[in-house]
């Protein structure tokens, strides 16, 4: 019995997994190996890269200028993740528990922004936050400001743009986690004498942690590598690791150093995520 199940499982699954394995192998794994190989190569002045073992590309990262940019990127990504969590959790909670028959429509609204390209949406903020934009017009109409104020091309605008862009990545996993939640557990908490707040902190929130973890990772990773939003909304005055990597590949024609930065970013992200899952994830999950 058991054997038959296992057999069918492996045959069917192998067939189903073949396309995705091929896809990821061709378009993810092999390019990734190229990047790793390039990162130890030596860039020519004009083109070409001489493969070899040149750890110099990694040593160059220790330039204080580049370290500062990497640290700043992680700081901005962490802040984006935190703001997305603070905004996204109440939203997901509201949709699941108070949305009732509007639940599906509301979660659809969260996804609506994906229908338009990120680039177009980022440009929309340039218009909205500009000197003659609707935000400034409203502030003046209400009488909060006398003239146009600088809302755009600031680090705050970058943070806002990133929060805006990545908020759905936080809300969707939180929604999925909370949706599975058994409401009877809340009633049980209440019956056992816990206040609503206590029930939330000791029952609901811990059970939604997998969603919090998934959402945080989904927001943190693209935020740390972002390079379009800092250019468009930050007036290129907030240089992030993504900008630095792009610059190495195009302007500097230094693919070896660009690859080293990419590998380093990937390793740092992986490390940060493993640390995070270990700290927030399993500990608390098991503790409950």
């Amino acid at each position: 019995m058991r054997e038959r199940v296992a057999k069918g499982w492996s045959l069917g699954l192998a067939a189903l997994l073949a396309p995705v394995t091929l896809w990821l192998g061709l378009f993810f794994l092999i390019p990734l190996l190229f990047i790793v190989a390039y990162s130890f190569g030596t860039s020519g002045v004009y083109e070409g890269i001489t493969l070899g073992f040149n750890p110099g590309n990694y040593l160059r990262v220790f330039d204080p200028l580049y370290l500062e940019i990497i640290v700043r990127s992680f700081g901005i990504a962490a802040l984006t993740t935190l703001i997305c969590f603070l905004l996204g959790y109440p939203l997901a909670y509201f949709i699941v528990f108070k949305g009732r028959r509007w639940r599906n429509a509301l979660i659809l609204l969260v996804m609506v922004p994906f229908w338009t390209s990120l680039l177009i949406r980022a440009y929309a903020w340039v218009v909205i936050l500009g000197g003659n934009g609707i935000a400034n017009k409203t502030l003046q109409f209400v009488g909060i400001t006398d003239g146009p104020v600088n809302l755009i091309f600031t680090p705050e605008a970058v943070l806002m743009g990133m929060t805006y862009s990545y908020l759905p990545f936080m809300v969707l996993p939180l929604y999925a986690a909370l949706e599975k939640f058994d409401v009877r557990l809340k009633e049980a908490g209440k019956d056992l004498g816990a206040s609503r707040w206590q029930t939330f902190l000791r029952v609901t929130f811990p059970l939604s942690l997998p969603g919090v973890i998934a959402g945080s990772i989904l927001v943190f990773i693209p935020s740390a590598g972002e390079f379009v939003i800092p250019d468009l909304l930050g007036g290129s005055q907030t240089v992030m690791t993504g900008n630095l990597i792009q610059n190495q590949f195009l302007q500097s024609r230094d693919w070896a150093f660009g690859s080293a930065l990419s590998v380093l970013l990937a390793v740092l992200l992986l490390g940060a995520i493993m640390f995070y899952i270990r700290k927030v994830g399993t500990d608390k999950l098991e503790g409950v």
Binding site: V45, Y46, E47, L65, E68, I69, R72, S117, L118, L119, I120, Y123, G130, G131, N132, P148, N150, F153, V228, D231, G234, G235, S236, Q237, T238, V239, L244, Q246, N247, F249, L250, Q251, S252, R253, D254
Partner: protein
């Protein structure tokens, strides 16, 4: 480095920017080429098609249809938004493009990288129309690989009504009176160049001490700036009053001036950039004869004038000059007196120093 699109028509610009900006894909956007015409310059007749790879919105609306009418050659256009994107695509190989329009320093890089081919001047009789000031520039001293397409300057577009007439100087861009109301180009060579000019140094210096001085100037300036923008981004910001001064390419300035008479454009002393975009044929182009025909067509007197009357940039075509619209010629800084023209500098490929330039500009932007 240089990003230049003469008219920021939203969607078209977005399309080009999308390809270039949101992905690093160097393989995207290959034109459909089924043709296998007689390659290599001579040979048999080619299929009547041509793949033209250009900056967005950088040909007159009638150029391509009129060329098709005259020659029967159907032109397919694709667009890029920076010289570096163009180079990356050519180096990836197999792009199928027949005519490209790189800027000066990029022509030099492309020659050194062996991605462009020599032109057959016998097929381009109109090359005689090129004015002598625009021939034999340092990046391609004998015009073996390139012929000029459009040229212009880099200077300051500003709101004359608000701040009065500016002196011919770079100093206003360092004036704390205009704090938060100024922008510089998000372009390594142009912006480091502005600081080098201000210090009286060469835009092509390879002296690290001089470069460091220029970077230090820019670090002083950084807190006063609203940001580093592409020329097309800065233009509307100056036009609608968000900025008082913007470091821009001349075509953007002329477009703004023609729409808003409160504005003015100045080419500062002691020096400023004179840039040239050029027509080249990549190695491996499948329709080199057609490519030569297009280059010859654009260098025609009338067709050259039609082109510049549309782009608002200057023409390197001496025969076209008399047919440039008077309205355009009357704009400040369009027709340059010899005293101004002579102080302009041409940006060259810095070779090994490229990475030092880039590192310093990154340092400036994140200071």
């Amino acid at each position: 480095m240089m990003k230049r699109i003469s008219r920021g028509r939203f969607l078209r610009t977005m399309g080009a920017a999308g390809v270039a900006g949101s992905t690093l894909s160097v393989l995207a956007c290959q034109p459909n080429t089924s043709a296998q015409g007689g390659g290599g310059g001579g040979g048999g007749p080619e299929e009547k098609v041509l793949n033209f790879y250009n900056w967005a919105d950088y040909v007159a609306e009638s150029t391509v249809p009129d060329f098709a009418k005259q020659t029967g050659i159907k032109v397919t256009q694709d667009f890029y938004s920076s010289n570096e994107d163009l180079l990356a695509k050519l180096q990836a190989g197999g792009t199928g493009y027949d005519v490209i329009v790189p800027s000066d320093y990029m022509v030099e890089i492309m020659i050194k990288s062996d991605v462009v081919q020599k032109l057959d001047r016998a097929q381009i009789p109109n090359a005689k129309n090129v004015g002598k000031e625009y021939e034999g520039l340092s990046y391609d001293p004998n015009n073996e690989y390139s012929l000029p397409y459009q040229w212009g300057t880099t200077g300051i577009l500003y709101n004359k009504k608000e701040i009065g007439q500016l002196p011919e100087s770079w100093d206003p861009l360092w004036d704390s009176e205009f704090e938060g109301k100024m922008s510089m180009l998000n372009d390594t060579r142009e912006t480091l160049g502005a600081a080098l000019y201000k210090l009286g140094l060469s835009v092509n210096t390879k002296d690290m001490a001089e470069l460091q001085r220029a970077a230090d100037e820019l670090k002083k300036q950084n807190p006063l700036l609203r940001g580093y923008f592409d020329s097309t981004e800065a233009r509307p910001l100056v036009q609608n009053g968000d900025l008082l001064l913007g470091h821009v390419f001349s075509g953007d300035a002329f477009l703004a001036l023609s729409e808003n008479s409160d504005l003015d454009y100045v080419v500062p002393k002691p020096a400023a950039t004179r840039w040239t975009d050029n027509m080249c044929i990549p190695n491996g182009a499948e329709h080199p004869q057609n490519a030569h025909k297009l280059i010859n067509y654009i260098l025609g007197a009338k067709t050259g004038a039609v082109l510049s009357n549309y782009t608002y940039y200057n023409t390197p075509n001496a025969a076209a000059l008399p047919m440039i619209d008077d309205a355009l010629k009357d704009l400040p800084g369009y027709v340059l007196p010899a005293s101004v023209f002579d102080r302009l500098q041409v940006i060259a490929d810095p070779g090994e120093a490229t990475r030092e330039y880039e590192r310093l500009f990154t340092e400036v932007k994140s200071s």
